[in-house]
Subunit: 279 residues, 4 copies
């Protein structure tokens, strides 16, 4: 049996942490496949991610690690198993289809439990991949009632992460609070430029020469959550708004796929409004 | 004699413009080395840049072209000759040195007439390249008096373009108005993100995964002028503010050099707050 | 009625070509939506692509243009209509699925008539998109017989272009000759590096820091045909061969999609072993 | 006193190496500023680079580390001090000037002891930066005699690294052997494409859409040594050979600067013909 686990540690920094951690790992006869760590000197914070192989009792291991670490240490030991996802969409197909194909062929370390749309536009394509699509319309009803219904469904599905794959509704604080650092959004600009609606129109009007996309965790502040990945592409004067939108789709799906890969492999730490990512 | 001229035309669009323009060029027995044009359909505007070879009487040619073009046409005929530049700097050497080397070896289509600094830090390196350095300090005096002195010197030097190569003073409207679309600044962020002071600190605090630089014409609105070129590089969590500044220097000098090349070869049109660039 | 046509011209260069071409266009009361041209001075060749709107008699127009152009001129006038494609695959799904999704949502200027595989691995996914999949196995038979069967099917389907979307068989000269400059291949390296089989293994062994992909027209010389698009991504020492293959998939599908877009919009000219592309 | 040292370890891999190494570091009361390690599983090789602060006796430390490591371990402990460089050039100024500016302003962790040219073209610019330039002409003499003279001078100067900043002479095996993995070359193509002379001409003729540069250690096989860094830029059909050369200069100086930074900070390990780089 060659079990694989991810050990994630986040704590205040002090001398000897790596020796202490790797000492415990070695004493448990585990092999370190890969280890990465980082000290955020501005805040005296230590982060580490180890991928280890060998038989392990996670509870015991966690206790042993805690004994060696500062009192504020967060220790996670995670078996390398697929995560559970729910994807929220509106009408645009490009990010969803990218995920559907990757999921269908087992490329993601994840299982998509369902796709939820506020329109039924993407029901057909979702069902072609044998995945359930639930349409919960926001139209002609109060935002709170709409969100309650989505929230109830999500709590029943109980995913590890919620992916907003071009979901064009702004979620209210209660909703977001229920899934802290577990909702991943793709925003169609290189944040913090062009927060909010119609970023490509704003980009066109500002005359920028780059357009981009940003994947980030959702917080209560619109488009202000911790950034996971960002990419840009060149856009010269020949790009009108429609051209930017079309070209932007390519970046959006690529950025979202990259961000999800990092999250699903437990590579992303959130600290304040920033991310530490061991790729 | 194989004279080269640039013909630049900007006017409202209508059918037959290219036929009309190239007809005049052909009738004058000129050869079109390269021609690029663009129609901004949102505003019904036509832009063209032709590089032609052959003997030409620019005044006659301009008249002939105007006869064929809409009444709002701006027609420029420019001999391919080096432009005159003045460079304004503060303390950072990286952009200035990049220009000094390119200038020294004749890489730029330009002649640097002088470097003006508000400190004398860069005097030594400028003089190593046999160029005059004038230090006009802003310290212990009113902004207006300081700017008047710089402005007087600039008017005497009478350059085609003024390059702010990490010049860290904000110019007042009168100053800017004296050189409309002739002052080029390098800003150390991918605008419109992180306008104003300390963009790298803001980038660090926002936790962005890209840092960049923007070269733009200076207008009265801080960092809001027409953008010429932009580039970004990846910046992960290992970059603190100092690391971003260092890495950013590489982008800044590259972006400024690219922008200047475009401007000095008469490839940049300004329309509203946007640029049309025939590269 | 606002018809759109593409006019493509390729001929030896001489003074006055643009005036002559645009004169004909104007005389026919057509509007030039966009025009791009290029002179390859090394070989004295002129290339132009115009997108025009308005009513037109292509046969008459072609005759009028020929009268104004050198005797070696190739003139094409093409209505903006979807092209017909056949896609050839082996076992890898990533490029095919990228095309299937784009095709399904009308993103490509093309109609996929069929997918032909030398294995049936990709039959299921193709049929989920309501497209015919024909499996023609190459196993246990002579190459010539295999190719004859594929060729016969292709001649019956009669596509404008054949896309080798990770089709891992080398086509013999007769096959290629039947579709000159109409077969587009995606090769998983930045050509001319790593021609032939197993480019990622070769890349790993050479220790390169970039991996890439190349879309090109197929000629008789393996991986030597005219290049349409190329892209690379960084690959550090953490990439083993499997990691390179996985990362490479992202580049391959992106490069192939970009190349197809250019070809399907009649933007690509082939001259010798090079391409002139008006994007 | 806050001394900084780099600890570099290269050995066959086995369980417990990180615990052993960090245990020694902790026992010596040193603080790990940053640590990176890598296991090359194909060859069962372990690589680590630690940056530590605190007072240390390198000889004692090395002995203690060796006791904990496999018999084949290479252990280096290096004080963070500037390296000594000699730069070899021919006629092109762009890479040399980039180094001269960085060196002049203390940007490199290095001291340039001298610039040696086989022409005197770059003497003037070198001396403007107060650095000695020695011209050793290769003309009208045997290659062996020429190389002996350069070699004698290099042995007298005794640099840590030799930088070939567009030095266009091929060095013979004896010369290379005298400075194994200590000669860094910049080649003006993305290797392994376009080995040898005139890579831009070959790139033009092949019709590639990317051009690039590669910094590598020099070995006896021309352009076959371990690659340190590579970059490419897009090059469409408008680039003729001269245009590629000009655009390529930008990449070349950037790639060489990046590679030197990595080497001078002791971040590069060579294993076989590949490099492991902890950046």
């Amino acid at each position: 049996m060659n079990l694989r686990h991810i050990i994630r540690i986040q704590c205040s920094d002090r001398k000897g942490l790596i020796a202490a951690i790797t000492g415990v790992v070695f004493a448990n006869n585990l092999n370190i496949v890969v280890m990465k760590e980082f000290v955020e000197t501005n805040y005296n914070l230590f982060f580490a991610r180890l991928e280890v192989s060998g038989e392990m009792e996670p509870g015991v291991m966690t206790t042993q690690l805690r004994e060696q670490l500062p009192g504020d240490a967060a220790v996670e030991i995670i078996a390398k198993e697929p995560k559970q996802l729910v994807v929220l969409v509106t009408k645009e197909y490009h990010c969803l289809c990218d995920l559907l194909v990757r999921h269908h062929f087992g490329e993601m370390n994840a299982k998509i439990k369902a796709v939820i749309g506020n329109y039924d536009v993407l029901q057909n394509i979702t069902e072609r991949f044998d995945l359930p699509f639930i349409c919960i319309s926001h139209e002609a009803r109060e935002k709170q009632a709409y969100e309650q219904e989505v929230l109830a469904l999500l709590q029943q599905l109980n995913p590890d992460y919620i992916v907003l794959a071009k979901f064009m509704r702004i979620l209210s604080p209660d909703f977001v609070a229920a899934f802290s650092n577990r909702i991943i959004n793709i925003h169609h600009s290189f944040l913090p430029a062009f927060v909010g609606a119609n970023p490509y129109r704003k980009a066109y009007e500002r005359g920028v020469k780059l357009i981009g996309a940003t994947a980030h965790f959702v917080t209560n502040d619109l488009d202000e959550g911790p950034i996971i990945t960002q990419k840009v592409i060149a856009a010269d004067h020949e790009y009108d708004v429609a051209g930017m939108i079309k070209a932007g789709h390519e970046v959006e799906k690529s950025v979202l796929a990259d961000a999800l890969k990092l999250v699903l492999e437990d590579r992303v730490f959130v600290t304040g409004n920033r991310t530490i990512i061991f790729d």
